[in-house]
Symmetry: C2
Subunit: 436 residues, 2 copies
């Protein structure tokens, strides 16, 4: 059988993980695929530090050496970011190469352009590694759960944010302290904005929603809130309510419209998602046929992501060897059946809420605040007032029954406008597990 | 594109689940596959009660009507048991039909014959539904984790046994009481032997080991212990040790030999497998590239299993449509690379143990017992003696450090031979999570 020849653009963490995987698993893959999978070319801006064992590949600093090599079957883009990654992928596609990428930002913003170009050029796009690191979640959705209408998706899909929340929960430490520690350990980037503000999670949710629903969901469709305002006090209160705080991606399919949000969430301790700790990821689906399914594993890192990229390479390699390109549509549904989503307005959302209001401790404050909630038809389940320290504003924590986001936004605006309120109110939603 | 035509043998729980799935998901599958998947024929010994909506299929009581229909592409066997299921599958294969089955007993005993026949006839064998119900675990192992050496497999793969243990844990109820309740609710069969004695779990482990390691593992290779001797007192003691008791399938790849056992196991409460409750299943892999991965979902039932069978039908259907039969080897490795396993002798096993010894409460008993353990180099970590009730033998519970199964077997034989010991000692192994 013919060899499958791979060209790799970007020899960073994931790129070196792919190279190491293809090398270490060479014999195993041959025994499974019946053909050799060869890392034939590596392109990077800096090739000086390339370990000796990868120097069998042809090395270059010019991507055109990959595009113009007629023997390269699959181009793997692992440089990340929007440009030049977008241009490189489109060029590879234009040259008739199949492409594999782990680039969730790119796909959630320029996905339409890339998948259309691939369609016109009859090449495959593999993106297993873009969501959930080593967890084979894309394949599970596109193939294993093919005979399901996906009703909901909930996921912990950012290891950095989950690591920080786990440390805050276990050690009672402050957000800033844990973030610094995570940066020192290499669990968080120097600029952690994408991870802690939920943007990276939103990229991934856009991809999962697209292949789950057959609607092209983009980053801008997703309401995104991060975890940087969460304080140890919120984690303590969450514990009193029998919950843990997790950064969740949540989407529900309501038939004519779909919900799409990333937010810190109070998850009951008994729920599996409350028990996903550290840098692990988990994605929890509900399908109309299969019911609930959870997939768990390492959401990032050199080798887990290398495992997922290699799986895509093998998948496409098999289609090349068996002449079955296009066997599974890139986005699960055939291109002509992919529509545009109608996103549920956030104001229509209903769920129980947690509020932490910071106010001067004066007689009548609680009465004023509860009056405002009452006026907006928000029913309060419990109130906890943290015992005050001298001359400090108090924290008043409220747990509501189910309330509408529209009403909540109005009530909070009114409360935050009170003279006695010294800080913006912190609002965290409780998990509602049932599709509705 | 051509239609994919399916012949179904057996319209029981899972068969009707497949029929319902193909009907309900008809349009969705067309939008994903680009071809219609039609349930063309149904064979069952009793067709009188077939719901009206499935009567578009051609009905018959004779399997030959399926084998001899040249338009049938895929034959789905869902009657279970060894015969006539084996004969039906082999006949279908001989007629050049691709086959799909959920029959773990059959595959773990007659797998060699069936896969060889399929190879000779160049047809596919789908068996996703044989392990983990609706969880796409076979596809994950064969494709998503293709670039991994699987180091270990641990699984809760029998919903009935897990339901019983969960109820015993939550309610403190006795095994027999919970079993009767489970039978009344339809969670356990009239003859529950396969489920509670670990045999069904062993069938499934044999299948997972085969595709994980590329070694044809059979039922007889797996050391199997059930849960019928577990008492509420054991569950209480487990709790004191911070553990829950679960029926686990465990296999580890040691390079030149592989461990294979099904047993009740003391699982630390913090481990994900300790928190898989009720009729749910979970399978926990360690791969050398990906690290730990857990897949969770409904392990049985009409619709979840229907989801998995339908996924196999679609997978094979796509290979038919794209001319890519044999694209992924049935057992993950190409037939010429599948060997025979060397199974680790149980006596070589080392782990911490839990023993519950029932003895007459006389001075010196504990000293005699601990003397025997000492003689066999078994080091004791803690001893709990349950406060005695009048005229009743006492339960002495020991938690050991790591000990060898060989030594344990000798020590227990000696202890059970003591005149003061009134019942056979109950032995439960602790989970050791690290591959070794």
């Amino acid at each position: 059988m013919k060899d499958i020849r791979v060209g790799l653009i970007g020899f960073g963490t994931v790129g070196s993980g792919l190279a190491q995987t293809l090398l270490e698993q060479k014999d195993r893959l041959l025994r499974k695929v019946g053909a050799r999978i060869i890392l034939a070319r590596i392109v990077d801006i800096n090739l000086e530090h390339l370990p000796e064992q990868f120097k069998d590949a042809q090395l270059s600093k010019d991507v055109n050496d990959i595009f113009n090599d007629p023997d390269i079957d699959i181009v793997v883009e692992l440089i990340g970011g929007l440009e030049p990654a977008r241009t490189f992928l489109l060029e590879a596609i234009r040259h008739g190469k199949h492409v594999v990428t782990a680039n969730k930002a790119l796909l959630s913003i320029h996905g339409k352009e890339i998948f259309e170009a691939a369609g016109h050029n009859n090449v495959e796009v593999g993106f297993e590694a873009s969501v959930g690191g080593g967890i084979p979640v894309i394949k599970a959705l596109k193939e294993g759960l093919v005979a399901n209408r996906i009703l909901s998706i909930m996921g912990i899909m950012n290891g950095t944010a989950n690591y920080i929340l786990t440390k805050m929960t276990d050690q009672g430490a402050a957000f800033d302290v844990v973030l610094k520690e995570a940066q020192a350990l290499g669990f968080a980037e120097a600029d952690p904005t994408y991870d802690i503000e939920g943007i990276d999670t939103a990229h991934k949710l856009a991809i999962l929603m697209t292949i789950s629903y057959g609607k092209l969901v983009q980053l801008k469709d997703i309401h995104t809130e991060g975890i940087s305002k969460i304080q140890p006090i919120d984690i303590d209160f969450a514990r009193e309510f029998g919950c843990r705080i997790k950064l969740l991606a949540i989407s529900r399919h309501h038939g004519s419209h779909v919900e799409a949000r990333v937010q810190p969430t109070l998850v009951p301790e008994s729920h599996m998602l409350a028990n996903i700790n550290g840098a692990y990821n988990a994605i929890y689906f509900t399908g109309d046929t299969v019911g609930n399914v959870l997939l768990y594993g390492k959401g990032a890192g050199k080798m887990p992501t290398g495992s997922a990229v290699a799986a895509d390479v093998v998948d496409i390699g098999r289609n090349i060897l068996h002449g079955s390109i296009g066997r599974v549509p890139a986005l699960s549904y055939l291109p002509e059946h992919i529509g545009t989503p109608t996103i549920t307005p956030m104001t229509q959302l209903c769920c129980p809420y947690y509020f932490r209001i910071t106010a001067v401790d004066k007689p009548g404050v609680l009465s004023t605040i509860s009056g405002i909630f009452g006026k907006h038809s928000i029913s309060i389940k419990s109130v906890i007032q943290k015992s005050r320290q001298q001359n400090e504003p108090v924290s008043i924590v409220l747990h509501t029954h189910e309330a509408s986001e529209a009403a909540v936004q109005k009530a909070i605006a009114e409360i935050d406008g009170l003279e006695v309120c010294t800080e913006p109110t912190v609002k965290i939603r409780f998990l509602v597990d049932e599709p509705r």
